[in-house]
């Protein structure tokens, strides 16, 4: 029964990873950019909520409300100032740029907030700690359900937007052929900026939930980036629902690893990722698109 509990916990952990991966998947799908600063942007979101929380004494879920629009704007500006130019210089440049941004964010946060580890879990009341005891071996945490629900909702709405709205169609068109899109009136740069804005806002959301679920500090970014990336690749690049699946597989891998020995949890995740990458399906995934 221990295994079943592990799997269930893994599914919920996967929801959190899917939240992180969502923005990464979007940016990659639309712009073919791997945003190496994605995890750090999520940490900015976490700090944002923490600041609003401690300054204005609002519970985290309310504190999110002002933070999200700010992050939307931040993402938009990030694209307009930095990413747009790097797209023009070739496929390597965005990697280098986002890596530089990542270093700047991490160290700026370090300067502003000190290396202390924080958590928002204590501020959310019972929801972050309570769970529903199904059996003596199996418990379903409320927070886990909430995060999974948010992930499904978010991915679902993004998928819907992409599929059925004019704005979403423009994003898909620009992703498939930016030049042809421009030739029929769609401004690629504008589309990219909006996609980045959404991606950064989802990162902030994920960061906030990470803060509630466990802990965070200025250097948490890269770890989350790796998990997000693993989720995206496991699930299949470019597919939003695949990202959810990937997150869940990763979550389960980690929790099962933890059941064997807590020190093995992250390692198991990495190994599962590498095995999938090395598999024939992994080869298909890896070769799907020519560019980054």
């Amino acid at each position: 029964m221990n295994w079943i509990n592990a799997i269930v916990q893994g599914v919920f952990l996967g929801g959190l990873y899917a939240l992180f991966a969502c923005g990464l998947s979007l940016m990659f799908g639309v712009m073919r950019i791997i945003n190496l600063a994605h995890g750090d942007l999520a940490v900015i979101g976490a700090f944002g909520v923490w600041v609003v929380d401690t300054q204005a004494h609002l519970p985290p879920f309310i504190a999110l409300l002002p933070v999200l629009p700010v992050m939307l704007l931040l993402g938009y500006l990030l694209h307009r100032t930095v990413l747009a130019r790097s797209l023009r210089s070739g496929p390597l440049t965005p990697l280098l740029t986002t890596f530089g941004v990542s270093i700047v964010i991490q160290n700026a946060l370090l300067q502003i907030f000190s290396p202390d580890v924080h958590s928002l879990g204590s501020l959310t009341g019972s929801i972050s700690t309570s769970s529903w005891r199904v059996t003596s071996e199996l418990s379903v945490p409320y927070l886990g359900v909430l995060i999974l629900a948010v992930a499904v909702l978010l991915l679902g709405s993004l998928q819907f937007t992409l599929q059925y709205t004019g704005f979403g169609r423009e994003m898909r068109a620009t992703a498939q052929d930016p030049e042809a899109a421009a030739l029929v009136g769609v401004p690629a740069s504008s589309v990219y900026a909006r996609a980045t804005a959404i991606a950064v806002a989802t990162a902030a959301l994920a960061g906030a939930f990470l803060a509630i679920h466990s802990t965070f500090d200025p250097s948490s970014g890269p770890t989350q980036l790796i998990f997000a990336f693993e989720a995206v690749v496991i699930g299949g690049l470019g597919s939003l629902w695949g990202t959810l699946l990937g997150g869940i597989v990763l979550g389960i891998a980690q929790t099962i690893g933890a059941t064997v020995d807590p020190q093995y949890s992250i390692l198991t995740g990495h190994l599962v990722f590498l095995v999938i990458l090395a598999s024939p399906r992994g080869r298909f995934v890896a070769n799907r698109s020519a560019a980054a």
Binding site: F28, R32, I33, I34, L36, V82, R85, S86, S89, G90, P91, L92, T93, L95, L96, T97, F99, G100, V101, S102, I103, V104, Q106, N107, A108, L110, Q111, P222, L225, I226, F229, E230, V233, L237, Q263, Y264, I266, L267, H270, L271, F273, L274, L277, A278, G282, R283, A286, N287, A290, A291, A292
Partner: protein, 351 residues
């Protein structure tokens, strides 16, 4: 319809491998190379140790440039080999092998690791390769930190070197570093100078076009990946010898990749001279500003972003664009043979 006969004029173009500048440049480098071997006799241990650090950065920069600049493989995971080289050395000295010999073996072992890793990692392109190599580095770091025999998460020191008096140890480390540097530069130079080199530069410019022309893209990437594994492994082993103590988090840390990206980007990606300039610059900056802690890293990150946006081809491009010189004869020059055979070299070097 007959073609009118006319005297065939000698072709007005001639192809040269080296130019005056590259002859001076390579001559100078050889002289400097010899001179560098004499440094420990002349200068104090402090300087020798600094120079060792510089040379280690040089090795790393040149290796990363070989991967990213020539094979188009942006690796954010070279720290895997750096750490593997360092821990490999520790492992071997624990087995009783003489430390300096262990370092050489560890570098070779890193090359072997690269061969194994290439099986999955070289299937990936672009961003996927980048994060894939990073995950591999994290995995290896975790595996090693779990192994108590090698010292685990708290760090290990290289004991075998305590046998040597400090001055001697620093000198030997320096010489070994210099030896590796020269070896790696030589290998790279030879690779670039012959057919493989042209193929590499073709891959760098357009992989599909290169493949369609018969360039063995897969094989060349493999060679560079293994070479980079070897070089970074050596750098890791040498870092260990220079600092004597390492921890998994730091030796396998992703900040190594940050430094590599900085050096190569600022110096000039895809050129032979670029990483050398970048390494020197980085060394100077680090030496002056590392005490500033987080501000130093912020500055480094900002400079990297600025270069990526405004001077993506690096500092060397500033010099190269104006003067069209190459310090090393790795390219081809198309010179117009002037009718009066004057020393007028209107050469257009082809990058």
């Amino acid at each position: 319809m007959t073609t009118p006969t006319s005297p065939v004029s000698p072709t007005p173009w001639v192809v040269r491998r080296s130019s005056l500048a590259s002859r001076i440049g390579s001559g100078a480098l050889v002289v400097i190379g010899f001179a560098l071997f004499g440094v420990p006799q002349v200068f104090g241990t402090n300087i020798v140790q600094q120079l060792t650090s510089l040379l280690i950065f040089l090795i790393l920069a040149v290796m990363w440039n070989a991967l990213a600049g020539y094979a188009g493989l942006v690796s954010v995971g070279q720290q895997a080999f750096i750490g593997f080289g360092a821990y490999g050395t520790i492992f071997m000295t624990q087995q009783g092998i003489q430390p300096y010999l262990a370092m050489i073996f560890a570098a070779i072992a890193s090359a072997a690791l690269a061969v194994v890793l290439s099986l999955f990692v070289l299937r990936l392109r672009g961003g996927r390769f980048a994060v894939g190599t990073w995950v591999v580095a994290e995995t290896i770091a975790l595996l090693i930190s779990l192994d108590q025999a090698i010292g685990g998460g708290t760090g290990t020191s290289l004991r075998g070197l305590n046998a040597y008096p400090r001055q001697v140890r620093i000198a030997y480390t320096y010489w070994l570093t210099l030896g590796f540097t020269v070896l790696l530069l030589l290998i790279l130079f030879l690779l670039l100078r012959n057919r493989a080199g042209v193929g590499l530069q073709a891959i760098r410019d357009d992989e599909e076009a290169a493949a369609s022309l018969g360039v063995r893209v897969g094989r060349l990437k493999f060679v560079l990946f293994v070479l980079a594994g070897f070089g970074c492994g050596a750098a890791g082993a040498l870092t260990l010898a220079n600092t004597l103590f390492i921890q998994p988090q730091s030796i396998f840390g992703v900040q190594w990749s940050a430094y590599l990206i900085f050096m190569v980007l600022v110096g000039g990606l895809g050129t032979f001279e670029g990483p050398i300039i970048g390494a020197i610059l980085f060394f100077v900056i680090q030496h002056q500003f590392a005490d500033l802690g987080a501000w130093y890293l912020i500055g480094l990150g900002l400079i990297a972003v600025a270069f990526a946006l405004f001077l993506p081809r690096g500092l060397w491009s500033l010099i190269n664009d104006r003067l069209h010189i190459r310090l090393l004869p790795v390219g081809y020059h198309l010179l117009r043979r002037s009718p009066d055979a004057s020393a007028n070299d209107r050469g257009k070097p082809n990058p």
